[in-house]
């Protein structure tokens, strides 16, 4: 049995310990907001927070999250920074296809949690691992700055707070 938490829910599972967290979230918990893009920690689409640190869930085995706190995109609007970042993403009309944006947002929130007003270089460093094939990078940068300065143009309704129910 591996025990950890996802978005505050306590998880206890006997799914194979070599299963990447990503696929446990997606296939076992059916929480599909966290995306598969490359499988080897090159694209950042699968970014979640583990004990607050941005982590690539595709390359993090279940055995490595034992006893830890996992936060995913589905629950990020429960934090003040998460709310600000989501609002900024809307005000800057960041998304296009949207597939990478869960990961972009999780990386951005991790950055802003540590650095209140990041410089361009700090943004480059923090977001370097998140690929966007639609090329939304300039808007990602702008949205991070908007979130940092608290000048988002309009409020956003809080996202639903999904919780998960296990399936065999």
């Amino acid at each position: 049995m591996i025990r950890f938490s996802v978005n505050g829910e306590r998880i206890e599972t006997d799914v194979a310990a070599d299963t990447p967290l990503l696929w446990f979230l997606r296939d076992n918990l059916q929480m599909t907001g966290t995306k598969y893009g490359c499988g080897i920690a090159l694209c950042g689409a699968c970014t979640v927070h583990i004990n607050g640190e941005p982590s690539r869930s595709c390359s993090t085995l279940l055995s490595a999250v034992a006893g830890k706190r996992v936060t995913t995109i589905e629950d990020i609007s429960t934090t003040p920074i998460g709310k600000k970042v989501q609002a900024a993403w809307l005000s800057e009309d960041v998304v296009q296809c949207g597939y990478c944006q869960s990961g972009q947002i999780m990386s951005a929130i991790a950055l802003l949690t540590k650095v209140k007003n990041p410089t361009d270089v700090q943004i480059d460093d923090a977001m370097a691992g998140n690929i966007c094939r639609c090329g939304t990078y300039n808007r990602v940068r702008a949205a991070i700055k908007v979130a940092a300065s608290g000048t988002a143009a309009k409020p956003v309704a809080p996202a639903k707070t999904p919780t998960a129910k296990a399936k065999a």
């Binding site: 829910e9 989501q86 949207g98 597939y99 998140n130 309704a157």
Partner: protein
């Protein structure tokens, strides 16, 4: 396998995307019917909304307005732009507008191509009249319903933001009038607004789909789970190591030991391992022991192709455009150059996937498809059904760039074959490696061009040869798009060059390699613009002219293109001083009815190309959503720049040498230039937006590097 929660938890609520969520009974439903192409026909007799496959618009009693979008949303913004067209004429409250993707059905065919599809940067242009007509007709019906209720002349009623208003100030919401309107005949004499009266079109409008894409609730194809499709399994397929190889011997004994694996199935193009979860299926696939018959496969080598293509380029091919190139002999100066561009993978962020559930007399598919009715027909054939027995649900896609528009429907028919054989619902998932190695690339091409100038610095003649595979040959599109042995997509952008060239000849060698190829964002223009626009730069240099002035001097018959070029040059401060170590380059190209010019500023940072700034001007007709147009131009630039700096798929003895984002690199945030997009005001009908920003970026960067270093780069990706 089992998981336990120690707490009681509420099941996650997901958007009920598979059922028409506007489950309101009644309301107004507007559709088109076949036959009659895009002519307005009868109103639907108010069936339940989710059984009205050809409805484009539903107005529910609560006043919500749902537009069914016939195209795939994969980033280009159709779930916002098409509803804007409807809303412009409907005069509804924008905050009540919803957007839903239409199912696959002939009624949702592209108005120009006759099939349901998304491509050619044509989603807005082909819907321009159709969607406004839907909105205008619905508005007329609502007005008639209001007038009838108040027993007044409809001509004396008006609408305002979701309400019909009568001559004495009577006022009813669209929702209240929807049932009565639905009983009326759809008018055929619909008058559309003049551009000067537009209120919605031209207004920068944030995307309708954005809120669902910032909280993980948007459902992409890969996100279809057992919640939507009970008993859903996942398949991962081992494809042949080289294109066209076949399974000779299969040993799956080790696979069956993997917990969760339920099936191992040999398919037409490999071996599928099926399990309850992706990870189990993938683990199983990794344990497959397959011997391949390589004999029927392609042994293509990039190095050999390069040699043979370059040799072919020295000889004239099939004439695509005839011209008197003898006059090159009269030239006082000539430029002769060879160009090479590689195979390119599309690499959309969401790897390919397709979910299929087959029953005795029906089949249901969930897929992010650019080719809905093509895929529906292909699936029907594999399943032994009629197309109308296949329900294809279009799911938003995480990019596509052409890969999800395959005339062979490769990944769809593979998924159908697997579900059919497994006798359970299956989501077939491609890994990133499967995607990069899986073929259907932008073809490799070599160009050779020879152009000459007269004493006045004007082009006198241009002899051009293109070598590469045909994207269209062998597909159902061949009769339409291959004429006289010339695949139009191999030479578009060369044969139709707008430059004033009195004698121009273009010929084409169509090659065969066994490597599957496909259109890739901006298709032939991906390579032809690179060649034409760097040649023009070399010729400007030879003529001793400024690159912008030289182009303008050859655009006498094309003031629209000259105007876009001038705008980009002006906004970029063309000719103004730059810091040391920074140089500008320019390119302009027309594609998909749209002209895009770009001026780039480039420097070298420790031998690495740094594109600091791109100023783009675009003339795409009436700008429906300026916010999306800017986003798409930024996107097209990033996509083209990824290819110019990094993109290449190479083959050794038939084996693709790349596999994932470490060796098929794409642009990252620090490499994204600052981009300014300037839209030329226009009263012409809208033209393409998604692709035309891609062709100019590679030549503009090459031209800037030439200005910076004096060295001309004619191969992609750039090697400095």
């Amino acid at each position: 396998m089992k998981q336990l929660f120690e707490n009681n938890v509420v099941p996650m609520k997901r958007r009920q995307f598979l059922k028409a969520s506007a489950a309101a009974t009644g309301g107004l439903v507007i559709g088109f019917q076949l036959p009659g192409g895009n002519k307005m026909a009868q109103a639907q007799a108010a069936p339940a909304p989710n059984t009205t496959p050809n409805a484009f618009l539903r107005i529910a009693r609560d006043g919500s307005v749902t537009v069914l979008v016939k195209h795939l949303e994969f980033g280009q913004g159709v779930m916002t732009s098409l509803p804007m067209l409807v809303a412009e004429e409907l005069d509804c409250d924008w905050s009540k507008v919803r957007s839903e993707m239409a199912p696959a059905a002939p009624q949702f065919a592209h108005t120009m191509f006759g099939m349901q599809m998304t491509g050619g940067s044509s989603s807005v242009s082909n819907s321009w009249t159709q969607m406004r007509t839907v909105g205008a007709a619905a508005r007329m019906m609502l007005v008639s319903a209001g007038a009838a209720k108040w027993k007044v002349d409809a001509a004396k009623c008006r609408t305002n933001n979701g309400f019909v208003i009568g001559p004495a100030g009577q006022k009813e919401s669209f929702g209240t009038l929807a049932d009565a309107a639905n009983a009326l005949t759809v008018p055929t004499n619909v008058k559309l607004k003049e551009a000067k009266d537009f209120k919605v079109i031209g207004k920068p409008t944030r995307r309708i789909d954005a809120p669902s894409k910032i909280n993980g609730s948007a459902i992409f194809g890969l996100d279809v789970t057992a919640k939507e499709v009970p008993n859903l399994h996942t398949a991962v397929v081992l494809h042949p190591p080289i294109f066209g190889a076949k399974v000779k011997r299969l040993d799956a004994s080790k696979v069956h030991g993997v917990p969760g694996v339920s099936h191992v199935i040999q398919t037409a193009n490999g071996v599928a391992v099926i399990a309850k979860t992706f990870w189990a299926a993938k683990k199983g696939r990794d344990l497959l022991d397959v011997q391949w018959d390589l004999a029927p496969g392609s042994k293509a080598n990039t190095a050999d192709l390069r040699k043979s293509y370059r040799a072919l380029a020295q000889t004239p091919g099939v004439i695509a455009k005839a011209g008197n190139v003898e006059s090159l002999k009269t030239a006082v100066k000539t430029v002769t150059a060879e160009y090479e561009v590689p195979f390119l993978a599309h690499a959309p962020m969401e790897p390919l996937n397709c979910t299929v559930s087959v029953k005795a007399d029906s089949c249901e598919i969930w897929v992010g498809s650019q080719f809905q009715t093509v895929d529906q027909g292909a699936a029907a054939k594999v399943a032994g059904l009629k197309p109308e027995q296949v329900k294809l649900n279009t799911i938003i896609a995480g990019g596509g760039f052409g890969r999800r528009a395959n005339p062979t429907s490769d990944y769809v028919i593979e998924a159908v074959e697997i579900a059919l054989k497994a006798k359970v619902p299956v989501k077939t998932v491609w890994t990133r490696e499967d995607d990069i190695k899986g073929g259907y690339y932008r073809p490799m091409y070599v160009h050779r061009a020879n152009a000459g100038l007269d004493a006045a610095g004007k082009i006198v003649a241009w002899d051009h040869t293109v070598v590469g595979q045909s994207i269209i040959a062998g597909t159902a599109f061949e009769p339409m798009m291959v004429k006289g042995g010339i695949d139009a997509t191999s030479v578009e952008g060369v044969t139709d060059t707008p430059y004033d060239i009195p004698n121009m000849q273009t010929s084409l060698h169509t090659t065969q390699t066994g490597v599957p190829v496909l259109w890739w964002r901006s298709v032939g223009h991906t390579h032809t613009a690179f060649v034409m626009e760097t040649m023009m730069d070399d010729l400007a240099k030879e003529a001793g002219k400024d690159p912008v002035a030289f182009r303008r001097d050859h655009l006498g018959k094309h003031p629209r293109i000259a105007n876009v070029l001038a705008m980009a040059a002006d906004k970029a401060g063309w000719g103004s001083p730059l810091p040391n170590g920074v140089a500008r380059g320019v390119a302009v190209h027309e594609s998909f009815g749209t002209v895009c010019a770009q001026v780039v500023e480039v420097s070298l940072d420790k031998g690495k190309i740094k594109v600091g700034r791109v100023v783009a001007a675009i003339d795409c007709g009436i700008a429906v959503n300026p916010l999306t147009i800017s986003a798409q131009v930024e996107s097209a630039i990033a996509f083209g720049l990824s290819a110019a700096l990094y993109g290449q798929v190479t083959l050794k003895d038939g084996v693709v040498e790349q596999s994932n984002f470490h060796d098929y690199q794409v642009l990252r945030i620090a490499e994204m230039p600052k981009v300014e997009v300037h839209v030329v005001p226009s009263t012409a009908a809208p033209s393409g937006v998604g692709e035309p920003g891609t062709p100019p970026i590679a030549p503009a960067v090459s031209n800037a590097l030439f200005a910076l270093t004096g060295k001309r780069l004619r191969e992609l990706p750039f090697k400095v």
